[in-house]
Symmetry: C2
Subunit: 505 residues, 2 copies
Amino acid sequence: MPDRQKKSLDQLYGLLKEVVTLYSCQAVLDWDERTYMPRGGGENRANQSAVIAGLAHEKFTSARVGELIDEIIDAGLDPAKDDIDSANIREIKRDYNHSVKIPKTLVEELNRTISLSQGVWQDARAKSDFAAFKPWFEKVTDLKRQVAEAVGYQGVPYNAMLDMYEPGATTDQIAKVFAGLRDELVDLIARIKDSGKGPDRSIITRDYPIELQEKFGIEAAGAIGFDFERGRLDKTTHPFCTGFGPGDTRITTRYDKNYFPMALYGILHEAGHGIYDQGLLKENYATPCGEPISLGIHESQSRMWENMVGRSKAFWKHFLPKAQTVFPDALKNVTIDQIHFAVNDVKPSLIRVEADEATYNLHILLRFELESAFFNGDIKIADVPGEWNERFEKYFGIKPEKDTVGCLQDVHWSAGLIGYFPTYTLGNLYAAQFFAKADKDLGGLHSRFEKGDFKPLLGWLRENIHHHGKRYRATDLIKRVTGEPLSHKPLMSYLNKKFGELYGI
Amino acid sequence: MPDRQKKSLDQLYGLLKEVVTLYSCQAVLDWDERTYMPRGGGENRANQSAVIAGLAHEKFTSARVGELIDEIIDAGLDPAKDDIDSANIREIKRDYNHSVKIPKTLVEELNRTISLSQGVWQDARAKSDFAAFKPWFEKVTDLKRQVAEAVGYQGVPYNAMLDMYEPGATTDQIAKVFAGLRDELVDLIARIKDSGKGPDRSIITRDYPIELQEKFGIEAAGAIGFDFERGRLDKTTHPFCTGFGPGDTRITTRYDKNYFPMALYGILHEAGHGIYDQGLLKENYATPCGEPISLGIHESQSRMWENMVGRSKAFWKHFLPKAQTVFPDALKNVTIDQIHFAVNDVKPSLIRVEADEATYNLHILLRFELESAFFNGDIKIADVPGEWNERFEKYFGIKPEKDTVGCLQDVHWSAGLIGYFPTYTLGNLYAAQFFAKADKDLGGLHSRFEKGDFKPLLGWLRENIHHHGKRYRATDLIKRVTGEPLSHKPLMSYLNKKFGELYGI
């Protein structure tokens, strides 16, 4: 590497380190806001967040960053190559071009608005008061539309939103993949319904004291690979995972004393995200190759540990005896088959985060349709509750009685996370395809899970996915690792097999 | 006010707002580090803290701040006056002159070192391993000496440290006040000892479940005026209070299941700090008139609520029946006189934060002697444990068996808080003098406390102290409010009366 190039690279990485560190401070502010902050702190927290985001944006969008990128490329680095430095420059250049187009004032206003909007949403959700949330929902959407106009897009404005979370994804492409999945899913769900079978749900709705649920959740998350020396678990209304840099990954869950799976699978899901975060290489921290590749890939990790591992029969072969010592009354005489079936009950339900694996993607489909519609201006924000309820009834055969369990259930729109929902289903698709390959490479994972041995899968994921960070784009990584482009077939094959056995279809 | 002056003032306040907001973000990072952060997060947390502190320092020490101060004064503002703007400029000018003398690199290194040093101290304290802490203790001290040299001082370097927390205080002055206090205190403690009397300590060492202690502590802190809508209570090794700006004040305590006063008085103490923080005027936030006046005055608020209120007989007349419903077994048949005496036991002990009101100031005297000595280079850091133990035995008649309960007990030195300890005793002196005046102005406070009515005292403190922020210097405020300069007489008069009655001397 020429000296000049090395010097410019070091300078650019130094600048980026400061920017990434500032954003990591904002992540701490955000975590605190969602876990422990008293209500009175909301107004000033919004100011704090805005100041940090403004400074980070100002530093990253400084002319010097653009000059350094140009100097490095002029000195011979080819961003199309896939060594670490080249991949870093490719991604930094993309983010830089993106960021310089968004004015600092817009970034600050967005952060301030989102911070306040989330407080309003929390109240509105509790009271099922969509009208109270509506002006904030509109303001957030309007500001995000300004972002879309600033960064530019091809086709519809919503494409700019998708591209933020899943680089290169478009409304058309996603609509097509979702449609393919939908046909086979509808068929599977119909066959499950026709089977007339179902688990004994009473097993999982017994008395599960919250402090013991937490204890068991921590044990399970630790067993699959979440490192509590470098992370922690807290309680929030909406479960999430966040990272503050190497050595500090925070996950949260929520508890229902009389519904055991809520907290456990919330924990396994967020632990899956957390394990990815903890698997990024410390030496690449504060550069793209030390960052997660995309939200779809991130979600593939949470879904894999939650569903493909945590809801497998093999998982319960290992964990049921342990759970029985923690909950001796609730799980007395419960068999592996019973618990396995109970946590894999397929049944249309109102709440996305509680949905089963088979119906889950229908929840995403609904949100994708609605957010692309209101974002592109095809429907009004005021129409969201009506549209939600109507479509929900059409897809699920049930109708939310109030917005608390309807369009107000998720934090995303209040937090400006428009374009984020589709990545959940992309995650399911990636997860199934990766898992099938890992299972093949490692010669049968379930026999390992039965013995409580989750290390082979963890090691495979570390090596094939986590350690690369953003080195490869998601569409390239899936081909590189599995030899095939992304397809809905591995997911449907996994679902058909699992539910075929459970429901005898 | 001339237009030009108004414009410069607005600009200066705007700049300051950003600086204060950055420091408030650092306070969130620090709170998280001391409450919930996993161990693995320490290294990067030090980086985060250093970046924020560096940016804040850079912004505050920019030439533009100096120019604006000059412009404002040139346009006719007189910093010697005591209206809000004049007082603000007086204090901003002082801080600015102070800050421009400390290089940014030194600020960053100090913050990074302190962040790591506190982790090492926590381990060293647990293991009584002074040797492990020593190099960090030396490094922190050395960096603080560099600060002293940078800002300059008259007399000994330690004066620069004192001036940071109690503007204008000097080693000689403090040594003189402490000596005066010492003579009368030694006499009082001797008379108490000679009385042969003592409380039934078994009352307070019974079984007090921690979750109930927390419940009762929150009730008591709320009753005296700490607003939990704008604050919260958490658990830490070393209790502290911190504020993140208007609406968010955090206090912490520690619990001992079999020693009731530790958590309760920890809470009342920190709540006293918190009440001061919550009483600063929101409209003055991010200017000196919205900040606490000095550490001595801050401590006067915590000591007043902890001791003069919380350890009074009147307090227990109101709270004992309530405590008996929370701890029915432990407090069964306990009388007001018994609990009042038990929480006012005078007995030399090893731990400062557990010391009674009479011996407390001897703990401070010891620390003041040691830190002025090692900071001025009269003794070595390596000599601290030996010097500590020798002097401790001389003053208290007992000797710490290990450094955990000796020179490693306090967080201060690991956190670079050299020059901070003396402000505790200044706080006691201020508290007694303010309380005597409030009691006179309001016509007898104890009869109010008996009825659970703490509002008159709270209102008096809000009006006379909290609302002013830094508008008046501490030495001026005490004269303004009480008509007298600071004296050790009100404190001794309070102690002689209280312990005279309890011990019949």
